[in-house]
Amino acid sequence: MIEILKEATIGCFNSVYSIAIIVVPIMIVLQILKDYEILDKITRPFEFMADLFNISKESIFPLLVGIIFGISYGAGVIIQSTKEGNVPERDLFLMTVFLATCHAIFEDTLIFVAIGANGWLLLGSRVVLAFALTYILSKKISPETVEELKKHDGAGCDEDGCGCKHLV
């Protein structure tokens, strides 16, 4: 029992440490890119995603962080930007769906390639299905629907503090 507790505690420290060494540099770089207005230039090649899903261009960077580094890091950046107050609920919902389906694409693909799986098939199916699912949902939930919902229940929030639930 004590062995297990010890293992869990050490595991926690290691995980928090590995989160910190990725998240802190991401946040510093992000802040610099924002302050020097370079962020737009970097996310420009990926703005087709913003147009495709009809989400704001500000959502592209958190989405990229999640796709490349993993869902925890993406969620971290997304939550940080919601604090600064510029992420519409609809964007938040669509980003979550995309990232739940497709995240940490390099790490997740390579560990399976290492044991002999077909990497292109893995990466391809994940990217294609993430795009397809998010696109279908983005068509179902128009920005107007979200506005409607907001009008109906005031701030557009349910008990959990987020309005995403009644969107689907």
């Binding site: 297990i4 293992e7 869990a8 595991g11 926690c12 995980s15 928090v16 989160i19 910190a20 998240v23 802190v24 991401i26 946040m27 510093i28 770089v29 992000l30 802040q31 610099i32 924002k34 302050d35 020097y36 869902i71 925890s72 969620a75 971290g76 950046v77 997304i78 939550i79 940080q80 609920e89 938040l92 919902f93 980003m95 979550t96 769906v97 990232l99 739940a100 389906t101 997740d108 693909t109 560990i111 399976f112 290492a114 044991i115 002999g116 799986a117 077909n118 098939l121 893995l122 199916s125 994940r126 299905l129 699912l133 959990d160 503090g161 987020c162 309005g163 995403c164 639930k165 689907v168």
Partner: protein, 141 residues
Amino acid sequence: MLTKSVKEGFIKGLETTWMLARVLIPVYFIVTFLQHTPVIDWIAIAFRPLMAFFNLPGEAAIVLVIGNLLNLYAAIGAIKALSLSYAEITIIAVMLSFSHSLLVETTITKKLGLSAIKIIAIRVGLAIFTGIIMGRVGAFI
């Protein structure tokens, strides 16, 4: 201006790390305990008959259960312990790439406002969907 940006980013980084840590630590404890109980084996035995849908041998159930409840690295360990073909490994890999580490990752995604049930339904749904398709075409890869 640069010092100010670095300082601000550093503080935001620590805030985010702390937020993620608070969410993840309880789940890590649950996952570590789970690893040391026979619960995983019981679930795997219950899921064995379903493996035929994906054209996988019954013993592959343990890999899917470990990958979904614990993490991908633990699942890789389990794959190595079994003797599976190239096609079978690819089927398992595709399924697990959609749906894995559900305890940890669902806790995180819940923070973004989507309900746990919806997130799990999407991920497991896609895993089953691709698993069935891959099981049918698996012989050609």
